[in-house]
């Protein structure tokens, strides 16, 4: 597969990993609803502990999520490496063309 194509796909996947703000919002909203419903269902002096545990189900921002951050970092390394390789290949191609052009210009 062409490296540029790989870079393009990786960039897309990277975006998918970091643009889930809508999903996160939905999840956290449901968690809040769950806490509310629980407190409505069961009234007691001892339910605070359970409400806290339900609260732990909330999703943090993706930028603060360790696993997502590390996955994104590795994808970035790969993209950077691929981009460098593309540049090097382009420069090598440019030099090759320049050399070929000079050798073909000699006359009588």
């Amino acid at each position: 597969m062409d490296k540029r194509r790989i870079v393009s796909k990786l960039s897309s996947h990277r975006s998918d990993l970091t643009d889930d703000s809508r999903d996160i919002y939905d999840i956290n909203h449901s968690v809040d609803d769950l806490i509310y419903d629980f407190e409505l269902s069961v009234k007691s002096d001892n339910t605070g502990n359970i409400a806290d545990k339900i609260g732990n189900l909330r999703e943090g921002s993706q930028s603060s999520d360790t696993n997502i951050s590390r996955a994104v970092s590795y994808i970035d390394y790969e993209i950077d490496t691929l981009n460098r390789e593309i540049r090097e290949e382009e420069e090598a191609e440019a030099r090759r063309r320049a050399a070929a052009s000079k050798s073909g210009s000699g006359g009588f």
């Binding site: 999840i27 769950l34 269902s41 996955a71 590795y74 994808i75 390394y77 490496t81």
Partner: protein
């Protein structure tokens, strides 16, 4: 102790919300898995993409753990809700049936009982979706904070718990007391006075009292509670049964009767006699009822067989073979004579400590019991006779016994 309130309707909503959250988390897992799969398909000589996938899958596992916790939570909530509901229904049914019986037996109106069921480890009471929700809501609206103790206090206060049970079966014990006194006093021939079929009724009623023997002990519990205010011992009494049943009831009856007839001194004396009489009578009645049912219908054969060794150990049966015992008990033709035979015979109550207590070890049981029987029944009967109770005995005895019991447990 904290209060726990459960809203069944809200639990249903809670479970729906939990389900919705589960689906949202599952979507994120599916998304992460899709990304990891796509990355995995890209060629690379390096490990960067493998490392990226490792952490993406870790994130997916995190969310799977959250889903697992949610599912466990849902399961527990459903179980909790079911437990609460069934507990609530059981208690409601019990109170409902006791209330109905109480009203039926006594034609007395009582206020609706508020029921507190115990679920989990704390007080639990339902809201509007349960049968007693409205009544319980009234409690809440009155601002009663510690419902459990409030209810327990009510239930146990002034012997309400015991009173309810006592009143439930008061009619039964009154009948038993009346019939036994009459029957024993006249050596069994009083059965004829009360009708040819009374024997069957007598034992049927006795079986009722025996089967519900906890009732008569409730009298003792109530007496005890009124006297001592002590719930622990009253609870203990409340659970008793067996041969103490009529002992306590007759103790109370005797006290009441004596009080009516001769003031406190008589009351104390009658109480002692009544108590001991009751204990002995119970044993005799139990055997007689077993015999009677076996003789008449054969229905009591199981119970008879169960009590056979007990019967055999009675003084009158000692030394006899099984067949002879059977003949003596099963083949007897007259229930009245059976009663007389058992109560008046030698050593029937040999095993009872009471005779030893009364007459000492040296006295023969035959004589001891006979004398006791004579003193207690004749004494009582004389009192009854002297006060004009013999005439119209049945009607008056019912009333006297009822009043005596009432005075007896109140006075105690």
């Amino acid at each position: 102790m904290s209060v726990l309130v459960v809203d069944y309707g809200a639990i249903e909503g809670l479970n729906r919300t939990a389900g919705s959250l589960t689906r949202k988390l599952q979507k994120t897992i599916d998304d992460y898995e899709g990304i990891a799969k796509a990355i995995n398909s890209l060629p690379s000589p390096r490990s960067n993409l493998d490392n990226a996938n490792y952490f993406i899958r870790k994130k997916a596992e995190q969310n799977q753990t959250k889903i697992d916790k949610l599912n466990a939570f849902k399961t527990r909530m459903i179980g909790f809700s079911d437990l609460v509901d069934s507990t609530d229904k059981k208690v409601a049914n019990r109170i409902t049936s006791e209330t109905k019986e109480f009203k039926k037996a006594n034609d007395i109106s009582i206020s609706p009982l508020v029921v507190i069921g115990n679920a989990v480890t704390t007080v639990l009471f339902p809201w509007t979706k349960t049968p007693l929700g409205k009544e319980i809501k009234n409690w809440i609206e009155k601002g009663i904070r510690d419902i459990k103790y409030s209810f327990k206090d009510w239930y146990r206060k002034d012997g309400n718990k015991y009173l309810t049970k006592v009143l439930l079966g008061l009619a039964a014990i009154a009948i038993i007391a009346a019939v036994v006194i009459v029957t024993v006093a006249t050596g069994g021939s009083a059965l004829a006075l009360l009708g040819a079929t009374f024997a069957a009724k007598f034992f049927a009623v006795f079986t009722l009292a025996s089967a519900a023997s906890a009732f008569a002990y409730d009298v003792a519990a109530l007496i005890n509670y009124n006297r001592t205010g002590d719930r622990t011992s009253s609870n203990w009494l409340d659970k008793k049964g067996g041969s103490h049943v009529l002992g306590s009831a007759f103790g109370a009856a005797g006290y009441g009767l004596g009080y009516v007839l001769g003031g406190k001194n008589s009351a104390d004396e009658f109480k002692k006699i009544g108590k001991k009489f009751g204990k002995m009578t119970f044993s005799g009645l139990e055997i007689a009822s077993v015999v009677y049912s076996f003789w008449k219908t054969g229905a009591g054969i199981y119970k008879f067989a169960k009590n056979f060794s007990t019967i055999k150990n009675m003084g009158m049966m000692q030394g006899k073979s099984n067949w002879e015992v059977l003949k003596k008990t099963v083949m007897a033709k007259s229930i009245g004579s059976d009663l007389k035979l058992k109560i008046g015979s030698s050593g029937v109550y040999a095993k009872l400590n009471i005779t030893k207590d009364l007459f000492g070890k040296s006295a023969t049981y035959k004589k001891a019991f006979f004398n006791l029987g004579v003193h207690s029944t004749v004494g009582l009967f004389k009192e009854l006779d002297g006060n004009g109770f013999v005439k119209g005995l049945k009607k008056k005895t019912d009333k006297v016994i009822k009043e005596s019991l009432k005075i007896g447990y109140l006075a105690n």
